[in-house]
Symmetry: C2
């Protein structure tokens, strides 16, 4: 199946390390909302799951693909997975995360783009 | 936030190119079921969305993280995104996809592991 057309898929992963934070769905929804607004994404459906004793997974199906956020509040860790069929840059993704995490003191953000065309 | 403990996150992405296929949620659920069984994943919640005119997104929240499958039936393209907090290998992921796609004639599979620790 060579030379076959492929949809444009831009996938970005972010790993955030910060201080332990509250196990709050509302806070993670705020984070997701900031990312959605900044990157001008279109949310089709929203889902979440709260794990016991702690940890929240938030999933947005986008018209362009998906945004998935996993949290480990007790460790201060947030994993963000964004796949979009419209053009975005790694720099834009990192800038968006920085903005979304403005209220999280003492944090580090690492990001990576997955080059689907080179899989 | 250096030297902070991080949960183990193994993330794998697969891109499948095959012949155009039916826009069937049932077929994609079978594909997901095969992956879940082969990799011994624990499904917590299942969601899906069918796009117009074609395309299905299937999302499983796992006790270990997530499995997301996007399809472009008219292009014969399937994008598979697996994040798990338990140990899996890239070879195991590819073998699992090969098995799950056994009934898809004339297909290619490309896979990639995202090394979260090196983000």
């Amino acid at each position: 199946m060579k030379n076959q057309s492929t949809p444009t898929i831009n996938q970005f992963v972010g790993l955030v390390k910060t201080n332990p934070f509250e196990n709050s769905l509302e806070a993670i929804e705020q984070l997701a909302g900031s990312i959605v607004n900044d990157l001008n994404l279109n949310v089709v459906k929203k889902f979440s799951h709260t794990f016991s004793p702690k940890g929240i997974t938030l999933i947005y199906i986008l018209s362009e693909s998906h945004l998935v956020i996993h949290t480990w509040p007790e460790l201060g860790v947030i994993h963000i997975d964004l796949a979009t069929c419209s053009f975005r840059t790694l720099e834009g993704f990192k800038k968006t995360l920085k903005h979304a995490l403005y209220d999280y003191n003492n944090h580090s953000i690492r990001v990576k783009q997955i080059d689907i065309d080179k899989l």
